[in-house]
């Protein structure tokens, strides 16, 4: 069976691109390629990852300049056509700047860069990004950001809530959504969301840093394995259809 091919976009200033590549290729055994931001091709990737880092030094606003990189034209067209796109940390910021996800990421409420493990409650386990998690499961994944304070106006927030597009909320280890478990001031403790089509996800925590068993934490695998499973099913269906047609 064909492996899932991930394209990991590399912007000047990306610094979690190798982590994502290593995890997808060497830990999870899938195919992975780097996509330089000046490329105008996604090289037939099944899914695109916008990795964490400080693209363009976070100049102007986090993600504001990366959003205009040549490859983003392709990423936006890919996403609008239903392609799977995952934005992690800076990648989440870029997806918001590009208008592929609603809202924006402001400076952390306490103005500090926060680098620590957090607990996330899975709010919707019936998506292609979370199907390997149990409903309301609490997973442990690290964050590392200074600007992860998710903000959306009340209309956008209502839409996210009503359509169950909030995927992860910062919680206590027991799964309680409390102000104490909110590391950055995000509205409603939001850590990750998806678009209305269910094919674009952004999250501030770093699942790629909690996926290698050698590090002792593997909860991040659940997110990538969900995506891999959904894409394998899709690829198998497409192959079966093309055999039937030929």
């Amino acid at each position: 069976m064909r492996k899932v091919k991930f394209g990991v976009v590399v912007f000047p200033g990306s610094n979690c691109d190798h982590d994502a590549y290593y995890m997808l290729k060497h830990v999870l055994g899938q195919e992975a390629v780097f996509l330089w931001h000046k490329n105008s091709s996604l090289e037939d990737a099944d899914a695109v990852v916008l990795p964490g880092g400080f693209s363009y030094g976070d100049y102007l606003r986090c993600g504001a300049i990366a959003r205009f990189s040549p490859i983003m034209k392709e990423v936006i067209a890919f996403a609008k056509g239903g392609g799977v796109v995952i934005g992690i940390c800076n990648g989440f910021q870029i997806l918001c700047e590009a208008g592929l996800l609603p809202g924006a990421l402001l400076k952390n409420e306490r103005l500090r860069f926060v680098c620590e493990f957090v607990h996330l409650r899975v709010e919707n386990a019936a998506t292609r990004f979370t199907s390997e998690c149990r409903p309301r499961e609490v997973i442990k994944i690290p964050i590392a950001h200074g600007e992860g304070n998710y903000f959306a106006d009340s209309a956008a927030l209502r839409q996210l809530e009503q359509n169950e597009r909030i995927l992860f909320r910062y919680s206590s280890p027991g799964g309680m959504i409390t102000p104490e478990s909110n590391p950055n001031g995000s509205v409603s403790n939001i850590a990750g969301i998806m678009n209305s089509g269910g094919n674009v996800m952004g999250l501030m925590p770093h699942p790629e840093r909690a996926s290698d068993p050698a590090l002792g934490f593997t909860d991040g695998q659940k997110i990538f394995n969900s995506v891999i499973k959904s894409l394998m099913t899709r690829n198998r269906l497409n192959e079966a259809l093309s055999v039937e047609r030929s």
Binding site: L60, R61, A64, F68, C96, E97, P102, G103, A104, L106, K107, N108, E109, R110, L111, F151, A152, D153, G185
Partner: protein, 83 residues
């Protein structure tokens, strides 16, 4: 040639923790009269066009599409002619 002076501020509905921290520092300087501090950005663009209208159009477009993020920021600008 025109100079566009663009001011970007956080929208009123958004908390400005940076401004709050600065307010505390201002207070500790003894200026108890200061009630609020909000921090924004100031950006200048030199624009090589013939008319003020054209310069305003370009400044507005640059601010609306790139320099400010309408989700969290408002902007104003003024354009002056450079000799």
């Amino acid at each position: 040639m025109f100079l566009a002076k663009i001011t970007i501020t956080l929208r009123k509905s958004i908390l400005d923790p940076q401004g709050k921290a600065v307010l505390h520092a201002v207070e500790s300087l003894g200026m108890k009269e200061v009630r609020e501090v909000r921090i924004g950005k100031y950006i200048e663009l030199k624009i090589d066009v013939e008319t003020r209208e054209e310069a305003e159009r370009i400044a507005g477009e640059a601010a609306g599409k790139l320099l400010a993020n309408p989700v969290m920021e408002d902007f104003t600008f003024e354009v002056e002619k450079l000799e």
